[in-house]
Symmetry: C2
Subunit: 211 residues, 2 copies
């Protein structure tokens, strides 16, 4: 079971790492971070680089493809080399997944046409324009395509996937060992729950302002 | 406001990145990843390296110190160079914080003596042996010392800190933009909630088996 996590300049770190941290603990899984070139890839905030150990060409057939989002997903989605890799990897993958605006990359590669999918709540229209049918759910399964909402939702997506792949006990063990027992001091994690004046400040703005 | 995130070989990625992702969005914050030597630092799983942009010596007075845990926290905590940096940074910090077994590093540096603190649920005894008073809470404030439980709890810690530093609206805005609206499909994130047979398999084992 090989898991490939795609990196590109301007990705959002937790999109990639939230899902990675849990998925990589699947017994027998081999996880590899990939990018157009091997080496450090700088994130959206500019204050952190993650190292891609392999090039896209070196990892053509992962079992799981994981695509993070980020303010620069809009640029990355139009990169022919990334699009080609996504199509090639998807041709043999067991699961093709994304977090946040990572679904825009899947959509631009033509992989979500007519499929139910999700993304960051500020990017539903962009996702729709790429042929997908956005939903407001936090984690959306449509066949082997699994998309998660904004940033932190990759953790929930990973737990769903772990359950499907390894069974409930495997998922629960990994939840216990990562102590994923969320206790946020506020209940503002979605536009339905956050204070209306905060939602109003952001609604209509673009995800490229989020970094 | 300078936030320094400590890296050392064998750290757990989400410990560092969960809190980082939210804290770094604080308006006006400058975040920097530090290590004994600048450059890539490999994580506990071996499949990912994060880049430390600065050496410890280059960042002597951060406002916030953030220390992740990991299976190799036990080794890192006895490193004199790390201990010296933690004591120096703590002397002028506004907040000294840790996630998971990162509190063992704070404890070994002598910073938690007699203080209420927490860590991964498998490491309470080790934390106690370093002079702290472990509690079962997910996020523990004792003066300027803020410690969080295992791995994913750094996200909750960051929200608490954002509220204290920037106010409720700032914390809620960052929660909304990172869509931290947890919906885990299982309720197994603590030893009190996970299936008893899974907890029994792990209780008494060491956190250095977690990587």
């Amino acid at each position: 079971m090989q898991i490939a996590v795609l990196l590109y300049p301007g990705f959002t770190t937790l999109d990639a790492v939230g899902a990675y941290e849990l998925l990589a603990r699947l017994p027998g899984a081999e996880t590899v971070f990939v990018a157009k070139e091997a080496g450090p890839v700088r994130n959206d905030q500019g204050s952190l680089a993650l190292v891609a150990d392999k090039t896209l060409a070196e990892v053509p057939r992962p079992d799981i493809v994981l695509v993070p989002g980020g303010p620069d997903a809009r640029t990355a989605k139009d990169d022919p080399e990334i699009q080609n890799w996504l199509r090639t990897a998807d041709a043999t993958s067991t699961w093709t997944t994304s977090v946040c605006t990572g679904s825009l990359l899947l959509g631009a590669a033509g992989l979500l046409t007519g499929r139910r999918a999700t993304t960051h709540w500020l990017a539903y229209e962009e996702l729709s324009a790429l042929g997908a049918e956005p939903t407001g759910e936090r984690v959306v399964f449509d066949g082997k395509y699994v998309t998660a909402a904004g940033v932190s939702s990759g953790i929930d997506m990973a737990l769903h996937l772990l359950g499907r792949i390894g069974g409930d006990a495997t998922a629960q063990t990994i939840q216990l060992l990562t102590e994923y027992d969320p206790q946020p001091p506020y209940d503002a994690g979605s536009p339905e729950k956050a204070p209306a004046e905060i939602v109003a400040q952001w609604r209509g703005r673009s995800t490229d302002e989020l970094g």
